[in-house]
């Protein structure tokens, strides 16, 4: 018995040693710039059990009448999507609670000016028609692929859909996801982890007002696909001089490792390869302006991952210095009175206002 125990302990000790060794290898090779080892591995293919989304559209021989009838049926069914239960607004917001994010689209970049005359670059993020589809409580939520086995303070999972589409184009199984909520099948689905107090009933509409003006957000998007790139563009290597006798080596990586006992190429060595088309997050971006008619947020900066007209996920910022000082609309903003079309942050200059004049001298 003790022999068996000894073996088990020995094995576990070995496993632990291996883990530590692996970490050492990775940390030896890691430069401050390269954080991709700590990032989640890119999921390049969907698992086979994932619900098939698009239906193969065979030539349908529906008559014009029937087509119109189908359209009528769909529009009647989904004319008025209401939340299935009353949203609980009695909860007092505190900084520990986590609200949902939104599925948005990056629609462009243009400049705005502040009251002190400084120019800022702002990205326009259009909040698509986000509807809550489902809520999975932390006890129920058990995804087949987990990054970490044990999670402290497990959060509930809110599934949100964006951009309504014709259910005729989707498979029955995909439409089944939306059946219980009464929401029209959406083109895009996303998971947002929320604290159980921030639960929203299925059918709730989320708009740009979910984020107050002046609030800081993190935006996650898929970076522009740059294809197969060399080491200079991909990792920022300096290359070699263009002249002065350098033979046939101008953009190559140079040395890829040392010698000695561990004389091999370490795993994680920076080399040419595919660049882009990965999820990255821009953190701590301020919202300068909101348009309530088109549900557009003006967010600082122009370095949001992704190209124009690409999908983007917006969350409340986790940056400690950019935490909100005033209470946020919790669990989400409830539309009551009529809102002004444009809401500006106090520091930003509205184009409808007069030119900036400096009256008092400092």
């Amino acid at each position: 018995m003790s022999q068996v125990l000894c073996n088990i302990l020995h094995k576990t000790a070995l496993i632990q040693l291996e883990e530590k060794f692996r970490h050492l290898i990775i940390s030896n090779n890691q430069l401050i710039r390269n954080k991709s080892i700590n990032l989640p591995r890119p999921r390049l293919r969907n698992p086979t059990w994932l619900t098939k989304k698009h239906r193969s559209l065979e030539p349908n021989f529906l008559t014009q009448e029937n087509k119109e009838f189908l359209k009528e049926v769909v529009s009647d069914k989904y004319q008025n999507i209401q939340p299935q239960s009353v949203i609980n607004t009695n909860i007092e917001w505190n900084s520990k609670l986590k609200r949902t994010g939104l599925i948005c689209k990056k629609i462009g970049v243009y400049p705005m000016w502040l009251q002190n005359g400084k120019k800022i670059s702002t990205t326009l993020i259009q909040v698509l028609d986000n509807h809550v589809v489902k809520y999975i409580s932390p006890e129920e939520h058990n995804p087949p692929r987990k990054r970490i086995e044990k999670i402290i303070n497990k959060k509930g999972c809110l599934i949100i859909g964006a951009e309504a589409a014709d259910p005729f184009l989707f498979t029955k199984e995909y439409c089944g996801i939306f059946k219980g909520s009464g929401v029209i099948p959406k083109k895009f689905l996303a998971r947002f982890f929320v604290s159980p107090e921030a639960v929203l009933p299925p059918g709730t509409l989320l708009t740009a007002m979910h984020f107050p003006v002046g609030h800081y957000v993190d935006i996650r998007g898929k970076t522009t696909d740059r294809g197969f790139q060399g080491v200079m563009k991909r990792h920022g290597f300096k290359g070699m001089p263009a002249s002065h006798g350098v033979t046939k080596t101008h953009r190559r990586p140079g040395n890829i490792g040392g010698g000695g006992e561990k004389g091999r190429v370490w795993p994680g060595t920076k080399m040419p390869g595919h660049m882009g088309n990965r999820y990255r997050i821009s953190r701590g971006l301020k919202i300068w302006r909101i348009n309530t008619k088109y549900n557009v947020l003006w967010v600082s900066g122009q370095a949001i991952p992704g190209e124009t007209n690409s999908l983007v996920y917006v969350y409340d910022s986790l940056v400690p210095s950019k935490k909100p000082t005033e209470p946020l609309p919790f669990p989400t903003f409830l539309h009551g009175d009529e809102l002004p079309e444009d809401i500006y942050d106090k520091e930003v200059h509205s184009f409808e206002g007069p030119s900036i004049l400096f009256d008092e001298s400092k």
Partner: protein
């Protein structure tokens, strides 16, 4: 796409951009008299000038890069541009016009700075529209870049509205200083209402080389005869049509006898007819 919720307005196709409320100010007597009244344009007159709007308001044209285009972004951007134009009059001007721009400066006496100069370049689309003014003050050539929709700009006044033979006048940097000198206290020159914009066919004399750029390669209309050795013109001709080196038929045609060359041209004519 089926819009099911009340909060989402169905987007109308944005066919014709309504400029009726935009104040088109050029230095005309009429505009000086009635500064803030709407132009009472008849339907016909409106249609005629609408065709010219892409020249008068080039920054309202859509982004040349198709990847960056988005209907809602363009709509919001143009709305902001119109809002700014309702605050100050951004007049019609072209490269070659003389402008006076007053900006607010926190550390200047009187809190504002005025600069007068000839517009040598105009670029950018949407709110990023920019223009460069050039002037020679105290024998020192000075250029200032202004962003058209910058809210610190208090006033943009056109002192002389005219066009030049070129789209960009960057060669004025290498021209004799007299061609870039304009009086900072210049009075606005008035034009007859409704007259076409005058084209100044001035031919500028350049200083001897070295230059900022290779002006002999740019086919400049507004420059006097450039006196350079033959090799410059030979190289300019070579560099002017870089696609010709891939035109194999053209190279081949030069090698065959004249009769067969004619055959090729006759064939191409025949194809055109059919």
């Amino acid at each position: 796409m089926i819009n099911t919720t009340k909060n989402f307005v169905k987007l109308k196709t944005f066919k014709v951009f309504n400029f009726r409320n935009v104040y088109r100010s050029c230095s005309t007597e009429a505009s000086l008299n009635n500064t803030n009244e709407e132009e009472n344009a008849t339907q016909e007159g409106f249609k005629k000038s609408f065709a010219e709007y892409r020249h008068i308001y080039p920054e309202f044209l859509p982004d040349p890069e198709v990847k960056l285009r988005n209907v809602i972004r363009e709509k919001l951007e143009r709305k902001d541009m119109i809002a700014r134009r309702s605050q100050i009059a951004i007049p019609e001007f072209y490269v070659g016009s003389i402008l006076s721009v007053t900006t607010s400066d926190p550390h200047s006496p009187g809190k504002s700075e005025t600069f007068v100069g000839i517009c040598i370049k105009r670029e950018g689309c949407g709110l990023r529209a920019k223009f460069i003014l050039r002037n020679v003050i105290d024998h020192e050539g000075i250029e200032v870049l202004y962003e058209m929709y910058d809210p610190t700009i208090q006033k943009i006044k056109v002192l002389r509205l005219e066009k030049r033979l070129d789209d960009e006048l960057l060669y004025l940097r290498d021209a004799l200083p007299e061609y870039s000198t304009f009086d900072p206290n210049m009075e606005p020159e008035l034009l007859v209402e409704g007259a076409p914009v005058p084209v100044n066919s001035l031919k500028v004399k350049l200083k001897p080389r070295p230059w900022v750029d290779r002006w002999e390669r740019k086919n400049l209309q507004g420059v006097q005869d450039i006196d350079l050795p033959e090799r410059f013109w030979v190289k300019a001709a070579k560099v002017a049509t870089p696609w010709e080196k891939y035109d194999l038929m053209k190279i081949y045609k030069k090698t065959i006898p004249a009769e067969e060359q004619r055959k090729y041209t006759m064939k191409s004519n025949h194809n055109c007819k059919s």
